[in-house]
């Protein structure tokens, strides 16, 4: 090694040491008001295909190491890829849902680099002619405003395997179960201006792929992961700043924190007269900081060229039409319909349509027993949501089915029980004590609507509280609540509150 080269190496090392960035310790003194943040996202979504993108191997998550890797996934000498048509259909669904252009002819390419989890030494992806281009997704900024985020391209590609650094002592193991699983990579335009917008876009995308049934969107299992491109520039400048790319973020929170810390880091460097280096970063969620990623290969020259083992992918008008016809209702359409058809607020509609399963549950509830949509919405956003969160369950794992919740809400609607009592019944239902009617009957929770019975209770309460009665009659009408409370207490909550109110006013 020459002296010069040694010096260069030392300098590189020093630079790397200096590049461990922490957001929290410098947020305080940043004048972020002068800067504009430019963000673009690349999202890798695993498709829910039965088999891999170019082989017949199974795709289930969590199988024993290398049990879902056949000769093609292992890149045995002589094997060839054959394109999975189901993946193509899913990509087209996505393209249609984002109002994108579906390429009638697209090309697969080889991206060449060496890494142990990449058995062929190249990844089959799409480079110059992707299957989807020029789409968009609208995101809600608040209750009134939306923003259109452009999607530059979405292409089909295969996933890599995994290196297992801890599995085998003194060696690195390779698990190729994931190698070859179908992905679409969705590349947004640099239209996003804050971490909040980026997360809103990501959530909308997540909702969409789940609506379409093309991905389970499971972020912990890596089915939906995100690379974030971030740059900052002075607000009055037209010139884009140098960007960095933070790789492989697999939760909404990490995306938000990674962007915040990276923006803070870049602004601090620029404000102290430094320069941003275009580089790839990783996010340390424990330390809440970005840091340079050790690169997989020495250089970035992937030597793309058209994959000679696959013919150009040709898509006919008929294929697109038939997929278009079978497309489910999309999140934005459902949101608008919920407001129009059920007279829900934007807030309620947003909550109910954010997730396909939640929307289905809601519609099942109101259709099962002709339940008032607002009542159903309130219960789903209140009690049900709390119970699910409490046990970290998704709505399809709910202990109370839509039909059973509908039966409970029906008893509120027909005045069999009050809302307050209904919460007790809900609690019992959650613990599998039976249906609403069974619990109401068993626990004797039926609402008292017999006027004479309520009258008797009111008379007893008034007789027992002469001083309050006098005060009320001398003008302290606020004491009505006091009397209502006592009557309800005496009825053990079962008296109809409206009736109690009306009768009390008469008697007092």
């Amino acid at each position: 090694m020459t002296e010069l080269a040694q010096k260069d190496e030392r300098r590189d090392k020093n630079e790397h040491c200096g590049q461990i960035f922490n957001a929290s310790d410098r947020c305080s003194h940043i004048s972020s008001t002068n800067w504009e943040t430019i963000i673009g996202l690349e999202v890798h979504t695993q498709l829910l295909t039965q088999s891999k993108l170019f082989s017949g191997s199974a795709t289930a998550y969590g199988a024993d190491v290398n049990t879902q890797a056949g000769i093609i996934d292992l890149a045995m000498p002589g094997v060839l890829p054959v394109l999975n048509q189901e993946a193509v259909t899913m990509a087209i669904k996505f393209g249609l849902a984002i109002h994108g252009h579906i390429a009638r002819r697209s090309i697969f390419a080889r991206k060449n680099y060496f890494y142990p989890d990449l058995p062929k030494g190249y990844q089959i992806t799409q480079h110059e002619l992707p299957i989807i281009s020029d789409g968009y997704l609208d995101i809600a900024l608040d209750d009134k405003n939306t923003k259109r985020i452009h999607i530059t391209r979405a292409h089909l590609e295969e996933d890599s395997g995994k290196s297992l650094h801890e599995a085998v002592r003194g060696m690195t193991g390779i698990d190729l179960n994931r190698a070859g699983i179908a992905l679409i990579e969705i590349v947004s335009a640099p239209d996003l201006r804050s971490a909040e917008e980026a997360v809103a876009y990501l959530k909308a995308l997540h909702t969409l792929v789940r609506y379409l049934g093309i991905s389970d969107g499971n972020m912990q299992e890596g089915s939906f992961r995100c690379d974030v491109n971030v740059s900052v520039k002075p607000k009055d400048s037209d010139q884009l700043g140098t960007r960095t790319e933070t790789k492989n973020l697999n939760s909404f929170r990490f995306v938000e924190h990674a962007i915040q810390s990276e923006v803070a880091r870049q602004i601090k460097i620029l404000e102290s007269g430094g320069k941003i280096i275009q580089e790839t970063l990783a996010f340390d969620s424990v330390k809440n900081e970005t840091r340079p990623l050790r690169e997989k290969e020495e250089s970035h020259d992937y030597r793309y060229f058209p994959e000679p083992d696959l013919l150009p992918l040709v898509i006919t008008e008929e294929t697109i039409e038939s997929i278009q016809k079978a497309l489910p209702e999309l999140p934005a359409e459902k949101f608008n319909r919920f407001i129009a058809q059920y007279h829900l607020s934007a807030y309620d509609a947003h909550f109910l349509t954010a997730d396909h399963d939640t929307a289905n549950y809601f519609e099942s509830v109101i259709h099962a027993e002709a339940i008032d949509p607002k009542l159903a919405a309130n219960w789903m956003m209140g009690e049900l949501s709390a119970a699910l969160n409490n046990e970290n369950l998704s709505i399809i794992q709910s202990a109370i089915s839509a039909e059973h919740l509908a039966q409970l809400l029906k008893r509120i609607q027909d005045n069999t029980i009050s809302g307050a009592i209904a919460k007790t019944v809900f609690e019992a239902m959650w613990h599998q004590e039976g249906t609403a009617d069974v619990i109401i009957e068993k626990k004797g929770l039926k609402q008292i609507t017999d006027t004479s019975e309520i009258d008797t209770m009111i008379d007893e309460v008034i007789a027992a509280n002469p001083e309050e009665l006098a005060a009320y009659r001398s003008g302290k009408t606020k004491l009505l609540g006091f009397f209502v409370g006592l009557v309800m207490q005496r009825s053990k909550g079962k008296a109809n509150p409206q009736q109690v109110n009306q009768l009390l006013i008469k008697k007092l």
Binding site: P77, G78, L80, G121, Y122
Partner: protein, 484 residues
């Protein structure tokens, strides 16, 4: 017995003139006797072959024997054969036992043929002399001091010396036809997409095509009918069913138009070779063929375009040989980079490394447009030349190789000279057309081949012309004298 063609051997088996076991033993004996001099085989699968022969005899007893049941063949050592070493003549795969059969192998097994072994070749099919093998060069049975051509040199030498009635080969730029020409055998490369590439260790995916080395065009037609057809494991195979190529062998060639591209008969062409080709042309004319001159203006740009496209694809195709999952791994790697570098440096031969380097270079950013894209443009021009030519002729005829078999070692230091061996065959691969080389005569006791090029998926036509030519001549019946 070894002078018989496959057609004749099949007849003998069906007439019970001999058993499959006897036939297999006979050819195994010839292989064991002559292979040490030729080095045509890397692996001889004696045990498996004898078992398969006994099974074939049972099929004859039970009346379930097919036309080709019991016919011995051999496979070039880049066809994956389940449970058998498949080395690609490389140190890299010296320890590789294929876990599956190539589609061609399973189709020929299904047809009843028996594989006696795996033939020698240039490492990863890169070469025109068979000198680039980890297992040493193959010798030409016509003169043991000369090369048999390559890369399917082992298959060609084995068929030429009648150690095996026929053998599979692959042809990326001439690797079947050039050795066929240099060994007095018949070698066919079908249309790209006619025969499945699944299970064939890839060199250059857009050019590789499997074919055959046989004694006659008729044998080639018999075997190709079994090998060809759509394969759901190879997206580049065509969906239409392949015809029975034997049905049209005897069609008349009266009035058939054969084009002679001026570019393939340059002034500096060896006059002795030209004389042989001229005689063959007169023979075809006497059978009613009409010879006419045509132009293929870009065909001489084939070699430079080929030596960009083929290395580009090979640099990517050979990336999987990384010492991780199978094949050679260097001893005591200190880290991942060392594992990659030493495994590949120690196990690939010079020619393979040379082409990987060229291919990596021409795909690199900044050079891609100047080399790879430019080469693809030339490829398109050459293809268009042929498409235009086939509007006026039924077949095209050229010499297969500009020279007869050359001396071992005479060109191995001179790459460009070696590469021009394929000057007449390479354009055919770039265009993806079918082509056959057949024996046309001798120069100084060394065989000369002529190449017939057909239109897309018109293998039937060139097999027909070749067969009619062989009916009228006996060049293909000549056997090298030490192997009679």
């Amino acid at each position: 017995m070894h002078r018989k063609t496959i057609t004749e051997l099949a007849e003998a088996l069906h007439q019970k003139e001999c058993s499959c076991l006897e036939l297999t033993r006979y050819f195994l004996d010839r292989i064991n006797r002559y292979n040490p001099a030729l080095n045509a085989f890397i692996t001889i699968t004696e045990k498996e072959a004898l078992e398969a022969a006994q099974e074939a005899d049972r099929a004859f007893q039970q009346g379930t024997a097919k036309k080709l049941t019991g016919i011995p063949i051999a496979h070039k050592d880049l066809f994956c054969t389940k449970g058998v070493k498949t080395s690609c003549a490389s140190k890299m795969l010296d320890n590789f036992i294929a876990p599956y059969d190539a589609t061609v192998v399973s189709k020929l097994n299904h047809a009843g043929t028996i594989s006696l072994g795996k033939t020698n070749m240039d490492e990863f099919a890169m070469g025109a002399s068979n000198e680039n093998s980890f297992y040493g060069p193959v010798k030409n049975p016509w003169d043991l001091t000369r090369v048999p051509g390559g890369s399917s040199g082992g298959s060609a030498a084995a068929v030429a010396a009648h150690l095996i009635p026929a053998a599979t080969g692959t042809d990326t730029g001439g690797s079947i036809r050039q050795p066929a020409a240099l060994t007095n055998t018949t070698g066919i490369k079908p249309t790209y997409g006619r025969v499945s590439r699944f299970g064939i260790i890839a060199f250059a995916s857009s050019l590789d095509q499997a074919g055959l080395l046989t004694q006659t065009a008729e044998d080639a037609a018999l075997l190709l009918t079994e090998m060809a057809g759509f394969d759901s494991y190879d997206s580049t195979t065509v969906e239409e069913a392949a015809p029975d190529f034997t049905k049209t062998l005897n069609n008349s060639i009266h009035g058939l138009k054969i084009g002679l591209p001026q570019e393939c008969f340059p002034e500096h062409l060896d006059p002795k070779i030209k004389t042989v080709i001229d005689q063959a042309l007169r023979q075809l004319e006497s059978q009613g063929a009409i010879i006419q001159e045509i132009k293929l203006p870009h065909v001489m740009m084939g070699i430079p375009a080929y030596y960009i496209i083929a290395p580009a694809e090979c640099s990517s195709n050979l990336a999987r040989y990384d010492g991780i999952r199978y094949g050679y791994r260097c001893k005591g790697p200190v880290d991942l980079q060392d594992l990659y570098e030493r495994s590949r440096a120690e196990a690939f031969g010079d020619e393979v490394k040379h082409r990987i380097l060229i291919g990596t270079y021409v795909l690199s950013s900044g050079y891609y447009d100047a080399y790879y894209i430019q080469a693809q443009k030339i490829r398109r021009l050459i293809k268009n030349d042929f498409v235009k030519a086939f509007q006026s002729v039924d077949a095209i005829l050229t010499p297969t190789s500009p020279t007869t078999a050359f001396k071992l070692g005479s060109k191995s230091k001179d790459r460009v000279n070696m590469y021009t061996s394929d000057i007449f065959t390479v354009p055919v691969n770039l265009a993806g057309l079918p082509s056959i080389s057949i024996p046309a005569g001798f120069v100084d006791q060394l065989p000369v081949g002529l190449q017939l090029i057909g239109n897309y998926f018109d293998e039937s036509r060139i097999l027909n012309v070749a067969h009619r030519f062989q009916q009228a001549t006996d060049w293909h019946r000549q056997i090298p004298k030490n192997f009679e």
